[in-house]
Subunit: 408 residues, 2 copies
């Protein structure tokens, strides 16, 4: 059994990226189905938007300079010209929001700043409007050649609007990333509370993992069920998951004890698969016994059976691996500044992830570290709303210190 | 035509909630499909979790007091007892993580703090462990009677894990809220860039609205297409949407001009439907011409055709209406403190929503207001990542002032 050696998080990710061999192909989908998917290429505008100067209001298209001296006491009369794409400076053309300005016009006056006499042929302008007033200029929104969505960008609603504006109805995105999740543990069961009276334990960690993956719409998680503490059976289920998915996560069966079955199961696969152990243990708390390997070039993350430890490992290893591998922009955790309400100790040599209750206090955010009773305590996840990372070369943070917390 | 009167956002929402008559029924779904849905009732734990004291590590279950004087120099011998659910204080029972403690045991010592002699019948304890060391106490995670998910709570991954822990496999949530979206405007088209050379405009606002609604998995948006500037046709499409959906949104055809067709279309429906105008105009910028009504008790939000104005109205009127109506907890915008990099003017009498570029600067966040060239400018949405609300009784904020911004 390889000895544990706690590699730093960043080193793990770098080493994994170097050897991984998966391919996430592009697919073409309807723009209307692209929310929260990952753009496969840069999307560059072939046109200016607006494509021409257009009116931003309902009113009359005019020459701005014709109104220089206009006021309610000195209304300027202009001849109303209908249905022409050209005016001269003594004319005014009725125009609707979004319409192209006729030639000769360079500004729009709103209806409410004008009045007409009985003849309906003359409009009186009561206000001076400068050149380009109430006009959306050509290219004001998007310039021809602008990159409106970068390769790797998480597609949000405004990207969809911008892509629609340049006439796209289908786009290329990465297909969904298939992540298999395997639960390991003879004591674990899927079902109701009768399990407890039978001496079993309900498998909740795989549900936390699967739901956390579901939060990313570009990931397609698949749960393979529970496998008992039997190296052959573990190996066989991992083999199946590796053949079907891009990434495999196991939960449970880890730890520096004689029960570290998941790791042992790897050696059973070595006969006919290429196994590459990236890290046996990661310098993080919780999540220290995490093992990372590749099987035939596909990443295998062997996470703790404890829900909080597995969740943290998912956040700091699995998701960041995917983000780096596809160079995804826009899924970084939201970090906000906050003031610690009490001292919190780190653990030199390990990145520590502490659960935080963040709340508004005056004109800043306060961050209250939650009591930590081991990595299995679901209650802290239910009542926390943020995570604080204490770097592995820090002894901790003092009460009142300013820190950056990640919102959940 | 009813005159515009700009009612405050909060007043609009309160008045709407009072008269609205929609019912969002509960449905029973699998726990594994409940992510981001809204809990229909309080979910209370019928049991303690853990349901009994259990081991948090792999090791030997022992009496803590038997180890008081133990050290590497003074190992304490204990008799290994297999397969019994009871030990005495001179015994040690091998135990795995998650196993129930045998009667008589009150602590667990890890394997690595012990050694065994050749006989394999005696284990030597090299460390003193206090009572409850390495034990997960009964009820430590969740107590019987604890509310683990409140009615109206947006279901996140840890809620799913907690519900699984109390043995649930199906839960009741609100069914998806059906929101119909109708685009109004003869100049608008759905399609490619050839539309611009034909003098048309691509409808992007409905796409922004639909995608923004899709971000909430408990909402099911439906786009009804584009209807031309014809009051009969507008009325007929609104009628259809009202019959099929819980909430209807129109975009375009608004504004205090002679083209305010959407509002006029309402009077055509009055013959056989109950129309209740909640607010003709809202005291907000952008989004001032927004009209809110109910038709047969269903909310109708008549939003601007300008993408940014419509998006803001969606964020501050439509989503907050849904949140208040179902008393949803967990979808409030994330507000973070930031320092303004330049002065920004408000507009007394109107809540102003300014687009912000937020970024880290030193140990706080900086908020840079984006240039505002009217409500149609998509570019500000593409490059902004936050919104600042300037209350309608404020003249604005100074450079260097601390503000709360909402992250997008």
């Amino acid at each position: 059994m390889t000895k544990f050696r706690y590699l730093g998080i960043n080193e793990c990710l770098e080493n994994l990226i170097k050897v991984v061999e998966i391919v996430i192909e592009p697919i073409t989908i309807n723009l209307s189905e692209s929310l929260d998917m990952i753009a496969y290429n840069n999307i560059v505008s072939p046109i200016d938007i607006p494509p021409y100067d257009r009116s931003a209001v309902d009113g009359y298209a005019i020459c701005g300079e014709a109104t220089t001296s206009a006021s309610p006491n000195n209304p300027i009369p202009l001849v109303i010209k209908h249905g022409s794409n050209k005016i001269s400076c003594n004319e005014a053309a009725p125009i609707s929001t979004g319409d192209r300005l006729p030639l000769g016009a360079d500004a729009v006056i709103m209806f409410e700043d004008t009045y007409t006499d009985g003849t309906k042929n003359i409009v009186y302008v009561m206000r001076s409007v400068p050149k380009y007033a109430n006009v959306s200029r050509v290219g004001e929104d998007i310039r021809r050649g602008d990159t409106i969505v970068e390769k790797g960008r998480l597609i949000r609603p405004w990207h969809i609007a911008a892509m629609a504006a340049i006439g796209l109805s289908k786009i290329r995105v990465y297909r969904k990333i298939r992540v298999g999740v395997v639960t390991i543990g003879s004591e674990l069961r899927d079902g109701g509370i009768e399990i407890y009276s039978e001496g079993g334990i309900i498998d909740i960690t795989s549900k936390l993992i699967v739901a956390s993956l579901q939060e990313y719409r570009f990931i397609e998680p698949k749960w393979y069920g529970i496998v008992e503490d039997d190296e052959d059976k573990i190996a066989s289920l991992i083999r199946r998951a590796v053949s079907e998915d891009d990434i495999v996560i196991t939960t449970g069966g880890t730890g520096p004890s004689n029960r570290d079955l998941t790791f042992n199961a790897l050696s059973l696969l070595e006969k006919d698969m290429r196994i590459n152990v990236i890290s046996r243990g990661v310098a993080m708390r919780p999540g220290r016994p995490t093992t990372i390997a590749t099987i035939n070039g596909k990443p295998l993350f062997m996470l703790s059976g404890f829900p909080v430890a597995a969740y943290i490992a998912l956040r700091v290893l699995v998701i960041p691996f995917i983000a780096r591998f596809l160079d995804i922009k826009g899924i970084e955790p939201i970090e906000v500044p906050a003031t610690l309400t009490k001292r919190i100790a780190g653990s030199v040599g390990y990145d520590v992830f502490a659960r935080i209750k963040a709340y508004r206090c005056g004109d800043s955010m306060c961050a209250e570290p939650m009591a930590i009773h081991g990595s299995g305590v679901l209650k802290t996840l239910l009542s926390s709303n943020a995570i604080l990372r204490i770097d592995r070369n820090l002894e901790g943070f003092d009460r009142g210190e300013k820190v950056w917390i990640q919102l959940l």
